[in-house]
């Protein structure tokens, strides 16, 4: 069972459901320790006062905030004084269309689960799951975790309540000045749409593996066996496509050929009178036809 990061209640109108929050993503990355190259031992990281050059214990650490060239020292007790009042509740304020929230706002995903086995809690939780599953809206609310206030979306996902924290509006930048001037050419857009359609598949996240993690694991394995590891030569950046329409047309032509069987490619080659076609491989046929 995943660790709960926060407990409190989800407040929907006058209905309160006691819930706990767990992360919906886990860290599966490969982690390293910092070793001293000479002694091969892990190093410790210690805090030192930059003025006195002495080690500082954790209990003697305060938070410093730079304000007009001065450092204001803030303690945990100071921060507690400004903690929002309703610290144990996720208060739902509105129901918004999920499609109306740009993914740029999504921050971290969590799951909300009911606390305890009381019939009332379980029923209220299930009611929210059922009713949220029938709407394409998500509940917008806020809550406080540790010392930070979050704007969150709650919705039903796979029979449970899923919560995602959102960025605040001033944390999402405007894109002014980034796009190139002028409109796209209609013909180029049409051909790009056609190419996108050719390359379209269903979204199936299980098809994508973290190849970086796999490569890192294999680097570790080779080193463990006493082998050597060399970085691959960095690739050269390809040049920008000089003739967009030609590149789009060639891409589409290639896609169409790729969809043909070898027999169909041979027939196409016969139609176009390609020399030496009967001894060609599939790739050679495609090359000759494109």
């Amino acid at each position: 069972m995943a660790r709960s990061l926060w407990t409190g209640s989800l407040s929907f109108g006058l209905v309160n459901v006691p819930v706990q929050l767990s992360s919906a993503v886990r860290d599966v990355g490969i982690h390293f320790r910092q070793l001293h190259a000479k002694t091969h031992r892990p190093v410790d990281v210690k805090r030192f006062c930059s003025a006195e050059d002495v080690e500082v214990q954790y209990r003697d650490v305060a938070h410093g905030y730079e304000l007009d060239d001065n450092v204001v020292i803030v303690t945990d007790e100071d921060l507690e004084t400004v903690e929002p009042r309703k610290t144990r509740t996720i208060e739902i304020e509105a129901f918004v269309p999920l499609s109306g929230v740009d993914p740029a706002y999504f921050n971290h995903p969590y799951v909300l689960l009911p606390i305890g086995d009381s019939e009332g809690t379980l029923r209220a939780y299930q009611l929210l799951v059922e009713v949220m599953a029938t709407t394409d809206r998500a509940a917008l609310g806020r809550f406080v975790m540790r010392t930070k206030e979050y704007l969150v979306l709650v919705r039903a996902r796979e029979g449970r309540l899923s919560l995602v924290t959102l960025l605040w509006h001033d944390e999402v930048r405007e894109s002014t000045g980034i796009a190139p001037a002028g409109r796209a050419k209609k013909a180029a857009v049409e051909q790009t749409v056609a190419l996108i359609e050719e390359l379209s598949v269903d979204w199936d996240p299980s098809r994508y593996e973290d190849r970086h993690r796999e490569r890192l694991a294999s680097v570790i394995e080779r080193k463990r066996k006493g082998g050597t590891v060399k970085a691959p030569k960095p690739e050269r950046e390809p040049a920008a496509t000089p003739d967009l329409m030609a590149a789009l047309e060639q891409s589409l032509a290639k896609m169409k050929l790729e969809g043909l069987s070898k027999q169909e490619l041979l027939e196409r080659a016969a139609d176009e009178d390609v020399d030496g076609r009967s001894n060609m491989s599939r790739d050679e046929l495609m090359e000759a036809l494109s």
Binding site: I178, E237, A239
Partner: protein
């Protein structure tokens, strides 16, 4: 024009679109420096050899992967880099998926893409075509020696790039145990709850919500800088609701009234 942080070329079909990457999000949480409580001096994190107590230079640090207690496989910075692969300059896009089908759980961090010289026409065509088809291009990007799964999609007038979580990072719903109530919610309760959703329906207008906590922290810091006394207020505790139907009914009345 905002500064870019990285240059690469998006490749799909035989089309190469040189782009630059711009940060699209900022974390505005009030952040503090660690200081020494007694004199307010900033703290330094130093790497120290645990036996000799001597400081260790960053240049003398290697990465150690612990294969068993106290036994490490050592990797130099170059060897760690080797795992980044060789596609460091391109963002190959092999396929396109309906953007709305990507569950919110998968989205990680967002960037804006700008065009580079010679790529303006292809940039504009791709942006418009993604907007029309409502699709996202799925590809890989190597950034700071790490390969990410990315989705390229049309934002308002620009191309956006989002890093995505890998499927094995997402916890299966089945791993979160859930007990079922003996009696499920009644039709009446579902109907009432649905009508509460209807009454509370609104568009998502992010500007309506401010991080009030951030504002209070900043005010408190200013007050403290002026030497004012800081006082704490007590949090409210909500009561658990026992009569689900009555609570729903009262909520709907409350909202409508």
């Amino acid at each position: 024009m905002p500064r870019s942080i990285f240059n690469a070329t998006i490749c799909f079909g035989l089309v190469n679109v040189p782009i630059k990457l711009h940060t699209a999000t900022d974390n505005k949480t009030v952040s503090f420096r660690e200081v020494h409580e007694s004199d307010g001096a900033p703290l330094e994190h130093r790497r120290v050899d645990p036996e000799s107590g001597d400081e260790v230079d960053f240049g003398d640090i290697v990465k150690g992967y612990e294969i068993s207690e106290g036994e490490f496989v050592e990797l130099s910075k170059e060897e760690v880099k080797a795992a980044a692969g060789d596609r460091t300059k391109t963002i190959p896009i092999e396929e396109f998926v309906p953007a709305a089908d990507i569950d919110p759980i998968y989205w990680a961090k967002t960037y804006h893409l700008g065009p580079r010289e010679g790529g303006e026409d292809a940039y504009k065509a791709l942006q418009k075509a993604l907007e029309q088809t409502k699709r996202a291009g799925i590809g890989r990007m190597t950034f700071h020696d790490r390969e990410y799964l990315v989705a390229v999609r049309a934002l308002e007038g620009v191309l956006g790039l989002h890093t995505l979580h890998f499927a094995d990072e997402v916890v299966d719903a089945g791993e979160f145990d859930l007990s079922e109530p003996q009696r499920g919610p009644s039709q009446r309760e579902v109907k009432l709850a649905a009508s509460l959703i209807d009454t509370l329906s609104d568009d998502f207008t992010p500007e309506k919500y401010d991080d009030s906590y951030r504002e209070r922290v900043l005010k408190m810091i200013e007050a403290k800088a002026k030497g004012k006394q800081i006082v704490r207020s007590e949090p409210d505790e909500p009561a658990e609701e026992s009569d689900l139907f009555a609570a729903l009914q009262a909520s709907v009345k409350g909202v409508k009234g």
